[in-house]
Symmetry: C2
Subunit: 119 residues, 2 copies
């Protein structure tokens, strides 16, 4: 039972779109990721997903609107809702979501991460 320092964990990796597991509770994972560029449109049929911005600016495109998140802001994307994260510049995010969540949801491509590292 140790504390987790986000800055220290982020210092351990530099690659984009590769979430790292940094905590687990009640069947949910806490993940950290560095995002840059455009992700793919996808949805999670069973899982709600929380994006919390630690540093930078994250746009999340939905089919009917775009939400822009800054440092200290989060959004919950409900299950079944198509979304596409976009980061014009690198952004550092913390994710809360069920341990079953696949990063690309209902799609599979070169960005799909089946096995996540634990930091």
């Amino acid at each position: 039972m140790n504390k987790v320092n986000l800055a220290e964990k982020f210092s351990q990796f530099t690659e984009h779109w590769t979430p790292k597991i940094v905590g687990e509770l009640n069947g949910q994972h806490v993940k950290l990721a560095r995002l840059k560029g455009e992700f793919v449109w996808h949805k999670h049929d069973q899982e709600d997903e929380l994006f919390f911005v630690v540093e930078g600016v994250l746009k999340i495109e939905f089919r009917d609107k775009t939400v822009t998140l800054h440092n200290g802001e989060f959004i919950v994307v409900p299950k079944g809702i198509e979304h596409k994260p976009v980061a014009n510049e690198e952004v550092l995010v913390m994710l809360f979501e069920p341990a079953t969540t696949l990063n690309t949801g209902n799609t599979e491509n070169e960005l799909t991460q089946h096995q996540l590292d634990r930091l």
Copy 2:
């Protein structure tokens, strides 16, 4: 589906030890709380609980050690583990825990909050 700005939510209340629900996903609540002083020893028999420090310094006492959390740090307190949050000065925290979680866990006293506000 709107974003949540932590600073804006914290500006809506000033009282201590009264968690406010600011998000819900997968049966879990995201809560914000202002803490100051000593809480009570308690445990949650069924729920793991995450404390993330947004601003300030939070000590969490366990029976065998004390963990000190600063801004940008979190800890997961596993179910069944007795703990006592202590804040010498006011600290702003974000909590992530099952919707069933009672703030004072297995104890009940004047700090117990059965009904939480939603902001």
